[in-house]
Amino acid sequence: MQFNLLLLAVLGLAVTPAMAEPPHGGFGRPATPAEIAVADIDVRADGAGAPPGRGSVAEGEALYASTCAACHGDKGQKPMSPALRLTGGRGTLTTPSAVLTVGSYWPYATTLFDYIRRAMPFQAPQSLSADQVYALTAYVLRLNDIVPDGTVLDADTLPKVRMPNRDGFVRNPDG
């Protein structure tokens, strides 16, 4: 570093904080806006990262039947396994056999959107459009009686959905 600064000084170049070299001399290359855009798919609890697009409960219902019901059950009923259960369980968190679902446990609706967008459907992840993910999110929330019929979700309305167990978490000191 010292040598480099000296070299720059010898060459008569101005050294400003903005030009300060990274500690290891520039490993890697600047990330391009295009590669950030294609990789940056997360949606945070405050809605940061939610993409343009929109989807309704009705659109989600049709898509769910063709894309999700085989594993998660028709209208969320009778899933292939308890781990795939999306609905029910409200009021069970203080019982000896808590049932953890989107409706009973998940604190943020954005998490549902983010997870469908990145990992579902299981056999074809990241194949859905933003509109489709908004629609499926709306439908699964409808199945849990969290939003009414006619709901349309988008980047503005998604983070405003209040989940029943929103205040059900405490952060461990690790976090």
């Binding site: 500690p23 290891h24 890697g28 798919i41």
Partner: protein, 412 residues
């Protein structure tokens, strides 16, 4: 010892039956006065084995699953702790917990993106990352669900330590200090959490505190001296010493720096712990002090009264193991076990206790204490404090019950 005993009894049988034992008979039938056949001829050509595998006589030493999974790509495989010595897990036996199978990633096409609250968003190829100074550290890795099924009493009667504790492995991990990579990008003021994302079909994401990233986190590309195995994240994984397995994101493709946690599925609906009051603990990262006896253990019982080495493993995500006590009478009395050195932080520690078996029943337990003074709890104490819905981070004292004949079974 057991092999000799079997050989002697077989020879006795043959002699009683008047069977002539000749050089031509199989190895199992060979007279002990004969020179074994492998001494009388050249072995396998040395140059036939470019990458070695275990002896064909060790085929029973393998990873196993607890039960047939509903989806074969969302499943786990457990390390056969009962068959291993020392503290290092061979790479082919390291436990696996994948949520979308094991991807096949071309390292020349794999890149790590670092962006968000940084001065310089950067993209690294594997060759870029290998230019950084490297570090090698021996650490355990434990799935947060290890031993979790035991709590719910779902193990089969013939469960072994592989089934109860096999989501645990230990390796020497080599890679780049994450703090070096972050310094290259430059953290902006307010940077507090980092989203780590995998390149598999689950695109698994966890939020990691910046404090941990700057402390001892590694971007690992090697495991026990060779490149990561595909199922361990080839070509790049996050390694967070002492943190629960799932936070050590495999096939790492992206680090996004933010000012708050991202609240991903894996840190909200999964890997959180519901307490009796209905409130769940979140970001419960550090694996607590724990130990288990690996021999004697179910399927690894005793045959001969007399000397027996009771041995096992102890570990803590909070630091070094300071003490392991062993009981052979179900916790009635305890003896300090010897600890194999060097005792490393956030690493498996092998313990041993010489013991003499009189031939009667026994009830084996081990109890570890780490350098923070934390003592491994009893099952009763742990369940009383956590309630019926707490699944992850089960670290209670394990009991193995031995019958008078020497057979050992899991005991609740």
């Amino acid at each position: 010892m057991p092999n000799n005993a079997v050989g002697l009894s077989r020879r006795g049988l043959f002699q009683q039956a008047g069977v002539a034992v000749t050089v031509a008979s199989t190895a199992a039938q060979a007279n002990e006065a004969d020179i074994p056949p492998w001494t009388l001829e050249q072995g396998q050509p040395v140059t036939d084995v470019p990458y070695g595998t275990p002896s064909g006589f060790e085929k029973s030493v393998m990873r196993r699953t607890r039960e047939t999974p509903l989806f074969p790509t969302a499943a786990s495989m457990l390390t056969p702790l009962q068959d291993l010595d020392g503290i290092i897990t061979p790479n082919g036996l390291h436990y696996i917990r994948n949520h979308a199978g094991t991807p096949t990633i071309d390292p020349d096409r794999h890149r790590l993106l670092v962006h968000g609250l940084v001065d310089r968003p950067l993209s690294f190829g594997m060759d870029d990352l290998m230019r950084f100074p490297s570090v090698s550290r021996i650490h355990f890795l434990e799935c947060s669900g290890n031993s979790g099924q035991y709590k719910t009493g779902q193990y089969k009667a013939d469960a072994t330590v592989q089934h109860t504790h096999g989501l645990l492995s230990c390796a020497e991990w080599t890679g780049v200090r994450l703090s070096d990579v972050l310094a290259e990008a430059g953290l902006k003021p307010g940077a507090a959490w980092i989203l780590a994302e995998g390149a598999d079909a689950a695109a698994l994401t966890r939020s990691i505190p910046v404090a941990k990233a700057l402390d001892d986190a590694i971007l690992a590309y090697s495991q026990n001296g060779e490149r990561l195995r595909p199922e361990q994240g080839y070509p790049l994984r996050l390694f967070l010493p002492g943190f629960e397995g799932n936070a050590n994101v495999k096939w790492l493709r992206r680090l996004k720096v933010g000012d708050q946690p991202f609240q991903t599925r894996w840190e909200t609906s999964k890997y959180t712990s519901l307490m009796p009051d209905g409130v769940a603990r979140q970001f419960n990262f550090t694996m607590e002090v724990k130990s288990v006896i690996t021999r004697p253990s179910p399927g690894r019982g005793l045959r001969h009264p007399g000397f027996c080495e009771v041995t096992g493993l102890a570990w803590s995500g909070h630091g070094r193991i300071m003490r392991v006590e062993v009981s052979t009478d179900g916790g009635g009395s305890w003896q300090d076990a010897a600890l194999d050195g060097p005792i490393l932080p956030k690493c498996l520690t092998r313990f041993r206790l010489p013991w003499s078996w009189t031939g009667g029943p026994a009830s084996f337990q081990s109890r570890a204490t780490d350098e923070t003074g934390e003592v491994q709890p009893t099952r009763e104490r742990l369940l009383a404090s956590r309630g019926p819905n707490y699944y992850y981070h089960y670290n209670a004292i394990q009991t193995w019950a031995m019958a008078p004949g020497g057979e050992v079974k899991l005991a609740v």
